[in-house]
C-alpha cells in the first residue's frame, strides 16, 4: 500500500507527462466501477427486455414453431391478422369492451373510496391497508380461482341472491355475463388507484374549499369546479396506468375460462389469445406479431392520452 502511494506520488512531480496518464487510469477505474454497479440492471434490460423484444419483432416476420428454425415470411403474419383471423377481431372486441368498462368503473370507485377516506376517519391506515389488499392479490391465480367459486352457479353470489328469492345464473359460464364478472374483479382491485387518488386529494389545499364555501359553492360544485380539475394530473396518471394494465390483463380470464377464453370467446382477452397461439398452437411468429400489434395499440393510446392531456389536465406549475 505504501509502495503504491509512493510510486504514484513520485510519478506526478517527476515527469509531468505521467500525471494525465494517472488521471486517465483513475477515470477508467471509476467508469468501470460505475458500469459494474449498473451491470445488474443492464443485464436485466438487455438480456430480459430489449433483447427478447427485438427477437420477438424479428420473429413476427417469421414462421416459427419452436421445433424448426424460424423461416422469414415477410408481413404474412400481419396480413393474416388483419384480413383472415376472426378470432383476432373477437379478442380485440372483448379486450376493448373490458378496457372501456373496467377502467372508468375502477377509477370512479377508487375516487369515491379515496374521497370517503379523505374526510378523515379513525383508523384510516388500517382501512387503507385493507382496501389496498385486493390490488396486491387481485391478479394472482388464487384470487381468480376464488372468483370462479364466487360466481359459479352454486357460488356465494348466487347463494346470497337466493336469500332474496333470486335464482342467479352461472355468471362465469354464461357468455352474457362472463366478461362482467371479470370487470367486477378488476374494479375490486381499486386499491392502487385509490391510494394515488388519496395522495392527490391530500395535495389540494383546504383553503381553496374554504374560499369556495365562502363564495357559497355547494359540495357538488366544489367537487366539479375544484376537486376534479385539480385532481386531473392524478386522474391522468391513473387512467394511463390502469388502461395499459387492462389491455395486458391475462390471469383472471385464463383461470376463469380455464384457458379457453370461453364461453363462446366471451372472455377471450387479447393476451389470452396471444398465449393460445404461442403455447397452444406453437405459432410463435404469429404470436409475436400479435404482441407487437398490442404494443402499437398501447403506444397509440398512450400517445393520444398525452396529446389530449394539454386540453384537460391542469398542472399548477
Amino acid at each position: 500500500m505504501t509502495s503504491q502511494t509512493s510510486s504514484v506520488g513520485a510519478a506526478v512531480p517527476a515527469g509531468g507527462r505521467s500525471a494525465p496518464a494517472g488521471r486517465t487510469r483513475r477515470a477508467f477505474g471509476q467508469t468501470t466501477a460505475g458500469y459494474l454497479f449498473l451491470a445488474p440492471w443492464l443485464i436485466g434490460f438487455f438480456g430480459l427486455t430489449l433483447g427478447p423484444a427485438l427477437a420477438s419483432l424479428w420473429l413476427s416476420f417469421t414462421n416459427y414453431d419452436l421445433l424448426q428454425s424460424p423461416t422469414f415470411i415477410g408481413t404474412a403474419n400481419y396480413v393474416r391478422i388483419a384480413t383472415a383471423d376472426p378470432k383476432f377481431a373477437a379478442a380485440m372486441k372483448v379486450t376493448f369492451l373490458y378496457v372501456i368498462l373496467s377502467v372508468p368503473l375502477k377509477l370512479v370507485f377508487a375516487l369515491l373510496v379515496a374521497m370517503a377516506f379523505n374526510r378523515g376517519i379513525r383508523g384510516l391506515p388500517l382501512y387503507r391497508a385493507i382496501f389496498y389488499l385486493p390490488s396486491l392479490l387481485g391478479t394472482s391465480v388464487a384470487i381468480a380461482v376464488l372468483w370462479r367459486q364466487l360466481f359459479a352457479a352454486d357460488g356465494l353470489v348466487n347463494a346470497a341472491l337466493a336469500n332474496f328469492g333470486i335464482i342467479g345464473p352461472s355468471w362465469i359460464s354464461n357468455p352474457n355475463y362472463s366478461l362482467y364478472t371479470l370487470v367486477v374483479l378488476s374494479v375490486w382491485q381499486f386499491g392502487s388507484p385509490m391510494i394515488i387518488f388519496l395522495a392527490g386529494l391530500r395535495q389540494i389545499p383546504t383553503d381553496m374549499y374554504e374560499a369556495a364555501s365562502l363564495d357559497g359553492a355547494s359540495r357538488t360544485r366544489q367537487f366539479f369546479k375544484i376537486t376534479l380539475p385539480l385532481l386531473t394530473p392524478v386522474i391522468f396518471f391513473n387512467f394511463v396506468i390502469q388502461t395499459i394494465d387492462a389491455f395486458k390483463a391475462f390471469t383472471p380470464a385464463f383461470i376463469i375460462s380455464e384457458g379457453t377464453g370461453g364461453p363462446i370467446n366471451s372472455t377471450l382477452f387479447y393476451t389470452l389469445y396471444l398465449y393460445q397461439e404461442a403455447f397452444g398452437f406453437f405459432r410463435m411468429g404469429y404470436a409475436s406479431a400479435l404482441a407487437w400489434i398490442l404494443v402499437i395499440i398501447i403506444a397509440i393510446f398512450t400517445a393520444f392520452s398525452f396529446l389530449s392531456a394539454r386540453y384537460w389536465v391542469h398542472y399548477d406549475d
Binding site: 383553503d207 381553496m208 374554504e210 374560499a211 364555501s213 365562502l214 359553492a217 380539475p229
Partner: protein
C-alpha cells in the same frame, strides 16, 4: 352601510382543549380592526370563527345585531383573503374573480361588469386572461383581494395576507389595503403577527395571547399606555426595554425605584405598588437619550453594538448588572462600540409593571406635557 360585529364570550374548544377563552369584543361599523399576537395566540382561529369556517363552541357572534353562530359562511356577508391567496390554479384571473358571482347565479353581463370594475380598481385588467401561476406574488395578492371585493360583501377578513410577500411589496400592499378601506368604508378585520402592520393600518388593535384578549385600543393608545408587560413588549419597534427594579417609594406625585443597584427618581410617574415591591421597569428605545442634561439619569451603559440605519441609529448596550438596553438615537450621533455612555429618561414616558405583568405606573403629567 357598514356593519358592526360583536363577539360575546366567544369560546373555541377542540375536544377538551379550550383555545379561545370567552372573548368579548365590539367592532364598530366601518372600523379597520387588526388582530395581532404571536403564533398560536388564536387570532386566526377567531377570524375563522367570524368567517364561519370554524364552529363556535360557546358564546355569541352577532353581525349587525343578528346571531350568526349557526349561519353558513356563505350567508354571513363576508369575504376573506387568505394567507396563501387560495386562488384556483386551473382558472384564469377572470374566472377566479367571477367564481363567487357565478355561484351566486348572477347574469353574465353583471358578472362581466363587476369583474372588469374590480380589475380596474386593482390594476389587474391586463392579467384577466392569465392563470395564477403566470402572476407575481403582488399580482396574486391583488387577485385575491379582487375576489373578495367583487362580491361586494359587508365585511372583509384578511388572514395574514401579506406574509408571503417581500418587504418592499408588503409595504406597498399595506398602503393599498389601507386606501381600499378608505374608499370602500367596509368593516375589515385583519390578522397579522407583525405589529408594524397592526400599528400602521388599524383603527383598532386587538392584542391576543393564549386565546385571551390582552388589550384593545387605538394603535397609539396601546403604544403609550400598554396595560400589560406583554402588550408593552409586543407593540413598538424596536421592542421596549425591560429591567428588574424595586420600589423605594411611591406616591401620587412620583416614585423612586432601584434599578440595577442604582436609585432612579421618576417624578411625574405614580406607581401603584408598595415600598419594596419587585417590579419591572420598562422604557422604549426611542425614549432613552444618550448624554445631555434633560430627564433623569438611568445610569451608565457600555455600547455593545451600533446599527446605523441612516435616519436613526440603534445602540445595543448593557448596564453593569448585565441588563440589555437598546437605544434608538438620532442617525447622525457618533457613538463607538465599547464606549461608555450615560442614559437619561423622561419619567413620563416610562412604564412599570408588577409581578403579574400588569401596568402599575400612571404618568400624572403626560397629558399636560403632550398638550404643551
Amino acid at each position: 352601510m357598514a356593519t358592526s360585529i360583536v363577539l360575546d364570550k366567544i369560546v373555541k374548544r377542540y375536544g377538551s382543549v379550550e383555545v379561545i377563552h370567552g372573548i368579548d369584543l365590539k367592532i364598530e361599523p366601518g372600523e379597520f380592526t387588526v388582530f395581532v399576537g404571536p403564533s398560536g395566540c388564536g387570532k386566526s382561529t377567531l377570524l375563522r370563527m367570524i368567517a364561519g369556517l370554524e364552529a363556535i363552541s360557546g358564546g355569541d357572534l352577532l353581525i349587525d345585531g343578528e346571531r350568526m353562530n349557526d349561519v353558513p359562511a356563505s350567508q354571513r356577508g363576508i369575504a376573506m383573503v387568505f394567507q396563501s391567496y387560495a386562488l384556483y390554479p386551473h382558472m384564469t384571473v377572470y374566472k377566479n374573480l367571477a367564481f363567487g358571482l357565478e355561484t351566486a347565479g348572477y347574469k353574465k353581463a353583471e358578472i362581466d361588469r363587476r369583474v372588469r370594475d374590480v380589475a380596474k380598481i386593482l390594476k389587474i385588467e391586463d392579467y384577466l386572461a392569465r392563470k395564477p401561476k403566470a402572476l407575481s406574488g403582488g399580482q396574486r395578492q391583488r387577485v385575491a383581494i379582487g375576489r373578495a371585493i367583487v362580491r361586494e360583501p359587508k365585511i372583509f377578513l384578511f388572514d395574514e395576507p401579506l406574509s408571503n410577500l417581500d418587504a418592499e411589496l408588503r409595504v406597498a400592499m399595506r398602503v393599498e389595503i389601507a386606501k381600499l378601506h378608505q374608499s370602500l368604508g367596509n368593516t375589515m378585520i385583519y390578522v397579522t403577527h407583525d405589529q408594524v402592520e397592526a400599528m400602521t393600518m388599524a383603527d383598532k388593535i386587538v392584542v391576543l395571547k393564549d386565546g385571551n384578549v390582552m388589550q384593545v385600543g387605538a394603535p397609539l393608545d396601546l403604544y403609550n399606555r400598554p396595560a400589560t408587560q406583554f402588550v408593552a413588549g409586543f407593540i413598538g419597534s424596536p421592542k421596549m426595554n425591560f429591567v428588574a427594579g424595586t420600589v423605594e417609594s411611591a406616591d401620587e406625585r412620583g416614585s423612586v425605584l432601584t434599578i440595577a443597584g442604582r436609585t432612579v427618581r421618576l417624578p411625574g410617574l405614580a406607581v401603584a405598588a408598595p415600598r419594596g415591591a419587585a417590579v419591572t421597569f420598562g422604557v422604549r428605545p426611542e425614549h432613552l437619550t444618550v448624554g445631555g442634561e434633560t430627564g433623569e439619569l438611568l445610569g451608565d451603559v457600555t455600547v455593545q453594538l451600533v446599527e446605523h440605519l441612516g435616519g436613526e441609529t440603534v445602540l445595543y448596550t448593557s448596564n453593569d448588572a448585565g441588563d440589555t438596553l437598546n437605544v434608538a438615537v438620532d442617525g447622525q450621533l457618533r457613538v463607538k462600540t465599547g464606549e461608555r455612555v450615560p442614559l437619561r429618561i423622561d419619567p413620563a414616558l416610562c412604564h412599570v409593571f408588577d409581578g403579574a405583568g400588569r401596568a402599575v405606573a400612571t404618568p400624572v403629567a403626560r397629558t399636560e406635557a403632550r398638550v404643551a
